[in-house]
């Protein structure tokens, strides 16, 4: 213990090292604060959306005259509540919509409609704890450890220190451990405070903390391997800066390019345009053609499918759904492509530990691509339940009752999304 206190005292007397640690702690605290603010904003938006829903439904109930109107104007909220670790790993939450209002119209066009944040702000990237751990903390570790031996040698103290009994055990091991512990403390203390404020479950808190420690351990091993070679501090620093640059920026970017090239993903905008054109084109197509195609999917509604000479929502919602089916293959290819790229990225993570740990962090926080796709799957499942609920009323010609609106299926964010998804 005395050795630890001695090296802590020594670290505290070194202004540059102390400044680096304080700066890291400030960055980590800022990252946690930004994450908590993001999560609080999302939670507040979800609450506001849910709180306003009854009033909106009441307003809709005041003027709709049949189930078709209800389905058309009846927006329903769907949302992906932030997990208890989302504050630490924002992942895709800042670019993918986590809060939507959907109705029984064609879904594909609705999936990506959201209140986007300023896209220029998104360009800057996420400043969360994952960013601090993966990009900033290694630089502080490099600053603290690259000259652990070479600095003493260059200052002329190495042999005098090494000539002391037990130097390896009492000096070098403790000095290295204290410096690594300083970096860990700068990351873990803000994280722990954030986790307590976010009500993170203890096992998940420990698991995420373990990933932070793993990232620091990886870099510590790399740095000490370089530092042990006996080169000068300048050479060590340059070597480690190059390794950091390669492992965190160049190789992941190259891997990303390679993955994107090898796993093609259909153009999302093209998909949306195709869907929109099909839906709009339905107004010019014979109504029978639309209904035949729809009834092939829903033969149970054949009995009530006769159309009046004028507009009817049966036909309108039929071509809306056919619009989704028209691009279903492309949509599936789009999702498969995204999932495929994510799978390759996970595999690359085994070769690029910093990238792999960052992925593990967002996966644990439920903010990665997989979580985003699962959320979309839950939306699809819910959308199916919602429109089929209205189909029952539209095709049965039952007299309209406002209770139809009140009894509409509700989205459950915990629903696994398997049932009924198309």
């Amino acid at each position: 213990m005395n050795n630890v206190i001695r090296e802590m005292w020594m670290l505290g007397r070194n202004r540059a090292s102390l400044a680096a640690l304080v700066l890291l702690a400030v960055f980590a605290a800022a990252g946690v604060a930004i994450g908590l603010a993001n999560v609080a904003r999302d939670s507040a938006m979800i609450e506001r959306m849910l709180a306003g829903q009854p009033a909106e439904e009441q307003a809709v109930a005041g003027f709709v005259e049949d189930a078709g109107y209800g389905a058309y104007y009846g927006f329903q909220p769907v949302w992906d509540p932030p997990s208890d670790l989302a504050f630490a790993a924002l992942g895709n939450r800042d670019i993918a919509p986590a809060i939507l209002r959907v109705r029984s119209l064609s879904l594909e066009a609705q999936l990506y409609e959201n209140e986007s944040a300023n896209p220029e702000l998104s360009l800057a990237g996420r400043f969360d704890l994952v960013f601090i751990t993966i990009y900033i903390a290694p630089l502080v570790l490099i600053a603290l450890l690259h000259d652990v031996w070479s600095g003493e040698r260059e200052a002329g103290r190495l042999f005098m220190l090494s000539s002391l009994p037990g130097a390896r055990r009492r000096l070098w091991a403790v000095r290295i451990a204290v410096r690594i512990a300083g970096v860990l403390a700068a990351l873990l203390i803000p994280f722990a405070v954030g986790a307590i404020l976010a009500g993170t479950a203890l096992p998940r808190m420990l698991a995420f903390g373990g990933l932070i420690m793993l990232a620091c351990l990886f870099w510590s091993v790399v740095i000490l391997l370089v530092a042990r070679r006996g080169a000068s501090s300048v050479v060590n620093a340059a070597t480690l800066a190059s390794i950091w640059f390669a492992l965190t920026l160049v190789v992941p970017a190259a891997a990303n390019l390679a993955i994107n090239a090898s796993v093609p993903v259909p153009d999302g905008a093209e998909l949306a345009r195709e869907n929109r054109e099909f839906v709009h084109g339905a107004w010019d197509r014979p109504r029978e053609q639309t209904m035949d195609a729809f009834l092939a999917l829903y033969p149970q509604h054949a009995a009530g499918s006769a159309l009046p000479p004028t507009f009817h929502y049966k036909w309108y919602f039929a071509f809306q759904h056919l619009g989704d089916l028209h691009v279903a293959e492309q949509s599936q290819a789009y999702r498969d492509g995204i999932a495929g790229r994510a799978a390759y990225a996970r595999a690359a993570g085994w070769l690029l530990p910093p990238a792999g740990i960052a992925q593990a962090m967002t996966a644990l926080a439920g903010t990665d691509v997989t979580a985003q796709l699962e959320f979309q799957q839950r939306i699809r499942a819910y959308h199916t339940r919602l429109r089929e609920y209205y189909y029952d009323y539209l095709f049965s010609e039952r007299p309209f009752d406002v209770s139809i609106l009140a009894n509409v299926p509700r989205f459950d964010p915990a629903d696994d999304g398997d049932a009924g998804a198309d």
Partner: protein, 241 residues
Amino acid sequence: MQVTDFTLAVENLVVDRGNRRIVDGLSLSLAPGEIYALLGGNGAGKSTTLFAILGFLPFSSGTLTVCGHDPRTKPDAVRASVAYLPENVALYDHLTARENVEYFLKVADCPRSRADIEQAFESVSLAATAWDQRAGRFSKGMRQKTAIALALLRQTPLLLLDEPTSGLDPAASADFHGLLEALSARGVSILMVTHDLLGAADTADRIGLIAGGRIADEWRAQESGPRFDLNILHDGFAGVK
């Protein structure tokens, strides 16, 4: 005397670095309180011998013990018996003399009281105004005094000095030799490797001339008259250089 009576006993020491044999059959021994000056030219193997004694370098053959401990098998026991002063004593510039000594003592697991440290500073004539001054402002002589104070506090039976007087002015050099004599009087054995022939002749009990990795010649101080014949020393030193 038996080998175990010597603070340092080296017999036929051979040290290789890569393909080069640096020390080749060196033998020397130091009795308690004895000052031994190892003179030699650059590359003669002086510093390598010190590093072998400290256990920093392995030796190929021969025997080497410090207070009966072999540095190969008991490096910590050897280092607990040795205080080492490199040619340029470097301290932590951002710490004071007192903080430096306290730090090194803690690393050596050899805690001493504040009073002990101040007494050691007084023993080495380090001015009291320097005790709480940052070492970054110290002259080489002041840094050496601080390191000698550290050696005093550690109370090791053997002191290894690597070129201790290089860069010191004559007055500081004389002060330093006075310190060594005081340490010797306390029973501390001192092995110093040096180019400083006059300083060695002034202080050492024995002077060994190292050449080709072994002791080529050795002289013992006379009890009466001039301690050493400087002409013989000079001729010997000039010969190996």
